[in-house]
Every structure is written in structure tokens, then in C-alpha cells.
Symmetry: C2
Subunit: 452 residues, 2 copies
Amino acid sequence: MQTRCKMARMASLDPVALIARKRDALPLTREEISALVEGLGTGKVADYQMSAWLMAAWLNGLSEDETVALTEAMLHSGRVLQLPTVSLPKVDKHSTGGVGDKISLCLAPLVAACGVAVPMISGRGLGHTGGTLDKLEAITGYQTRLDVRRFEKIVRQVGCSMIGQTAELAPADGRIYALRDVTATVESIPLIVASILSKKLAAGLDGLVLDVKVGRGAFMKTPAQARALAQALVRVGTRAGCRVGALLTAMDVPIGNTIGNALETREAIEVLADAGPADTRELTLALAERMQLVAGVTHSRAQARKRAQLALSDGSAMECFLKMVKAHGGDVRQVQTPRLLPATRCQVPVLANRSGWVTDCDAFALGWLAVRMGAGRLRAEDKVDHAVGIELTARPGDKVVKGQSLCLLHVRSPKAAQALLAPVGAAFVIGRSRPATTPLVLTSLGAKSSRE
Amino acid sequence: MQTRCKMARMASLDPVALIARKRDALPLTREEISALVEGLGTGKVADYQMSAWLMAAWLNGLSEDETVALTEAMLHSGRVLQLPTVSLPKVDKHSTGGVGDKISLCLAPLVAACGVAVPMISGRGLGHTGGTLDKLEAITGYQTRLDVRRFEKIVRQVGCSMIGQTAELAPADGRIYALRDVTATVESIPLIVASILSKKLAAGLDGLVLDVKVGRGAFMKTPAQARALAQALVRVGTRAGCRVGALLTAMDVPIGNTIGNALETREAIEVLADAGPADTRELTLALAERMQLVAGVTHSRAQARKRAQLALSDGSAMECFLKMVKAHGGDVRQVQTPRLLPATRCQVPVLANRSGWVTDCDAFALGWLAVRMGAGRLRAEDKVDHAVGIELTARPGDKVVKGQSLCLLHVRSPKAAQALLAPVGAAFVIGRSRPATTPLVLTSLGAKSSRE
């Protein structure tokens, strides 16, 4: 019966009519959107038809109903994991991408140590934003490609596992994203929502917490844009059957003190060792609270924070990370002794050209400079150098004297630093007075967002 | 230098940026549009990128500058004919497509007999509108595929030649039209303008007269739409270096008495024999006037009409047609004796179900019914039956009595007519009073449009 209904639906698929409806800003039904996505998989909808539809969707928008339908169609375009042997509630986190964002690495084991299963599927860096997989792979031997059985087993035994996107999960998302990337249809809230949620929900999650970045280092430059994206993610994700919460967080200056893969892994390990920069630590704890609340393992924000702080101080979060790295074939000695992580021999300081207060540090500029150093990618097929990067030694709010170092460039040779000194220096603003402090977490939305 | 400039332009081609500009309704330069069209030819712009751009153009429009640039880029995507041995001014006609529109067949030889060279490149029928090539091919042996040298020779020696579109001329139009057809981006005035003009102007014309149809049997349903298309055609064509005129003509009822290929060819021959239905004759003469004025062979409309009427009455237009058919390998006996044209043995009358005045006859309905009979095509690859069609025996303004025939269905068997009797009958409206007469030529635009 299922099959017959499906065939009846497919039989009536006329891609041109579906494109024309979106072109004319008329609503599409769930069945029509499903037929479009299925058709892309079967070849009944050609790439050039999907790209015309995507442009019409970019310009005319998608309603919430349409976005839910698109998300679910993409989600069901491949395998949907169940992880039946994992009895704990399964919660993941997704960040819309920032500079110096190594939060996933310390967050997943921390939340796992708090009694939540974290089956995390991550991506690679592209453009000025880094990717969790590249940071994990800075640990020698760490395997990000595991089959689903192994992934499930690690989640069950360790509490968390972090792998890369597989072709089995939400393949329509991969295909559609590849088209959007080359047809100027990336920056559309409904299309972004469907892409993020279909990929994430294919892991069979009970809950999802979104870290929606806002600011010049983020894809969403204004709070209004970021809030619209966060609201859409929460509403659509909830309607797709997942408990979804979201934080809006600032992305004007880099998170923490490091940009670059091994440097960021080292910083995440510092947080797991109950140390690390205050902002990295705070963002990790804020997200850990939300993940516990969404998982339902606690009903109070204060309790959730207390539990997370305990998991950092009693070493259980670190233990969880060590177990996960071991299970993924990674070199645990590099976690125990982070100076064993890939590093450059050469560190070149960038010096303050005047005395005063550091009032600003441009995450967007430093993100692109890190790409130029080899820490990131311009194209998906590029290789990254895990060792290179930028280590901040001064941050907004710090007082510096002329000639003091603002940051260290971790480079392969002194020569490689030469062309970077001026632009990296220009990313820092030194003023006469102490800058006002700005909050890191701007807003909280969705499931359990009350700030009791 | 030419080549270097071209390479410099191509080197800077970023298809995604060009799509994004149109998506954001920002203007594209002539060079950018040229790079896009050239890129489609060289593979630097993929089909899925062009279709996204076309959808953005459909929704955000193209300025007149952009439409001129697109027309010229498509026009220069292949060979542009010069026909250097043809000394007379070269003028063609293009109709936006109607039902029973056999005008080209009598118009081209008529205008040629008036001292204008008519190198006409025509299309095939698709959907409810017929195509000149199918009507020509109703003449046994008529070749619509000739190489350019032969085409030029016939135009020089006979005054006119009518062939089909070749892959050499404006190949980008063929590629772009194929994409528009399957991505719901056909009905856009600037895209229609660029398509029509690039194809026509590639024949190296001095002048072009457009017959823009308006009404329920036309693509443009309202006078406002048709006028907008006609104005855009005249303005863009003129800026592309051609003398362009346009007539807006009514397409609510079929033109003349016949729908179907051989039937229409027969009617065109009747006009060339100085007879034929009044409306077919009038539309032919109105367009012949405009073509002579655009060619500059006369400066007065009255003179142009007089000359055309003479060419019909003295047999010179018919002689021109006979020579052209002969030069194309067609059977001239079928022109001399039109009952030798392909015909069905069976003609089934559709009878009036009441007495009164025929007040209406739906061209759109009859056009589709003719397709159903086999006279036209649903898809470009379908074959047509030259003999079948509908021959009107009553037209709006005629008085009929109950049981009198409204039209004859030329079918292969009486059985084939059964399912058609009711819908064909329903296309006629019989009322109690004589309908008001409506003009055939609604408006005249462009070069030499004064009605002196």
C-alpha cells in the first residue's frame, strides 16, 4: 500500500509544474516537495530543474509547511539512524560556523559525562570558518569515517562519538547543497534550515541544540537575521519531531585564543582539563546546559550547569574524551600531553604598534588569514595543514604596550609569516580607553529556553 | 587584440557572481552577459547555473540594455549570415504563433515579387500553434534543410527561400530555449525577445516585421502583454541594428478557413492565386505593406499595398512561389493543382445544433483539437500527419441553420471523427444576433508605422 501510494505520487510528478508554482509564489504540498526531492534522486528531476526551483525558492521563499516538508523529504532521502542499543536520550549540537569555534570537541564528551548520548556528525572547514573534523584529525590516527555499527557502539560504550557526514545519511542534502553552492542559492533561511536539520536529524536524535552565530565573523551578520534563522530552525525542527533549542551567540571576535586545527584541539583539551580561556569555557557550559535540558536529564538550568562544572572538575569529561579518541584510533598521548599535537617549529609574534587597550579583533579577517596560512580551505577538495594557525596573546579588553605581542603566528617558516604581519596586525584595534564588555550568549530560544 | 580582449573577459567569468547579481536585481554589463552565453557554449557555465540565472531573470526581469546584450550574445554564438550576393534589402517576418497561421507561405513569395529579398528561417509547430516548416513539407519533396550556399542562391535567384533553423545559427538560443522549456522560464518578455531576435537576426537581415498575436489562441492573452512584447521586440531589435516593425493582430478565432498542414498550404496557394479567405488575404497584405516599408522599397503604405495587390493579380507572387518550391525540390504540380496535396479520403461535417449567427469560434480549442487529430505536436520529436485538419465552413458573422455544417473534419477514418464531434462543435458559439465585427490588425508599431 505504501509502495502504491508512493508510485501514485511519483507518477504525477511534473517538475516543470512544480517549478512554475514556486516561481509564481504558490504553495507546494508536502507530496509535491517530496516528489521533487525523490525525483532528484531517481533522475526524474534534473539538476538544472532543481537549480531553477532553488532560485525560485530563494527569491519567493518557502513557507514553514514547505520547509518542514523539504526537511523531511531530505531527511528520508537516505538511511535514518535509530541507534536502538543506545538507551540514553540522544542530543547533538550544531553551530552555524565561526572563527576559533572548537566548542564541539570539549562539549560532546562533557555532555556525555552528564548522562546524555551525543552521536555527533560534523563537517569540515570551508572558507573563513573551521570544521570539527579537521580539528579531530589533528590528533594522529583519529578516524572520522566509521560505519554506523561502530559509531553506535562507541556512543553506547563511551557516551559520544564524533564522525563525518556519510553518503548514506540525507544524500539529497549533499546533492542540493552542491547545486546551491554553484548557483548563488546558499543564503536562504528555509534552504539553510532544511539542510542543517535533514543532516542532523538523520542521526535519529531526540534533541538538538543550535548555536546560531551572529556578527561579522558569522554567516548571519545582524541579530535580526540570526534570530530569524534560529526561530526557523527551532520551529521546523520541532515540527519534524525533535526537541530543539537554540542560542544566539556573538561572533565578532574569535572564540578563545586559537584559530587553526591543532591549536584549537589543544584549547578544547584545556577546557576539558577544567582550564582554558573564559569565553571558550563559558560557551561550552552554556551549550552543555541547553543540551541537558533538551535531553530531559535535568529540568533546571542551575542544576545542569552544576553537573557540567562537576564533570570538568572531576575529570569525567576528559575521561570521556580520552575514551572516544581511543575508540576512534587516535593517539591518546596527544590528549594527555597536548604539546605532542602537530605543531610548527616557528612562532612569529605580531606586535602592537602603539600602547592602549585592545578594543577589537576582527574574527572575519583572522579567519581568512588562517585559511591563507593553510589552516582552512577555499574549496572542499583542498588539504589543510593541522599545525599552522594564529594564537592570540591579547584580546579585546586587554591592555597592551607598544611592542608587546598581540598574537603568535604558528607558521612553517619565518618567511611564511612576512606577508601576514601587516594584515594580522590590522585585525586588532588598539584604543585609548577600555572597551565595554559585550555578552557572548545573546538570546536563548526554543525548548527549555526559560532562564530560571 | 580582439582575441586578447575576449580572453581577458572570459578569464574573469564567475558564473556564481553573475547569478547572484541577477538574483539581487543588480544590472549586468554587456561583457558579463556575453561571458555567460559564451560560457554556456564552452562549458564554463553549466546547465544548472544557466537555469538558475534564467529563473532569476524571469523573476527580476532584464533591462533593455541587458536584453540587447543577451540578444547580441546569442546572435553571435554561431554563424551570422551575410548573403553577400543578395543585393536587394533582406527582410523577414516572424509570427509569435497562432492557429491557422499560414501567412508566411503566401507572404514570402508575395514580398519577393515586390522587390524585397526574403531569406526566411522558420520553425515547426508545437502545442496548439502550427509551424511553417510542417506546412511547407506538406508539399511532397520540399526540402527545409539546405546548406547556407544553396539558401543564398535561391534567395538571389528566386527572391525568397524558406528553410528551417540550423545548428549553425544562434546555437545558444537552442540550448537556452531547451532549458527554459523544462524549467518554467518560457513566459518572460526579455527572454522571448532575445530568443526571437537572435535566431532571426543571425540570417543577416536588414529588416524584420513581427506579427505579435493577441487573444485566447495566442501566447499573449491580453493587448497589454502583446503590446509590451511588441514594443520590446521593436526597441531591442532596432538597437541590435535591424529595422524592425510590428503589428499586433487578433488571435481569438482561427486565421482563414483551415487548420492543418496541407489544408493551410492549399489556402495559402489560394491567396497567391488572388483569391482565398478575406482575413488571410488582409493579414498577408498588411504584413506585405510593412515588409516593403521596412525594406525601404517604397515609402508609402498605399503604394506598398497597390504593388502587393498587383503581384497577386498579375501572377508574379504565384510564380515566385512555384520557383521557390521547385528550387527546394518540391512537387510543383501540387501547387498548380492543390487537390494533389496530401488529403484524407474522409471528411466528416460537424453540424450546427441550432439556427442563428455564429458569434464565436475558439482558436485555442480548435488548435488543440487539431493536435489531437495528428496535425500538430505535443513534443518536439512527434511526427505530424500533413493531411488531417479542420476546414471551417462557417465563421463568426455567418448565419447558419440547424443541421448545417460548421466545419469539416479531415480525418483518416469516420471512427477517428467520433470523439471530436462534440468538442469541435463546442468551439463554435451560435447566438441570436449578428456579432460585431472586430479588427484583425489592432496596432502598428516600430519603423514606418505611420498610417499615412
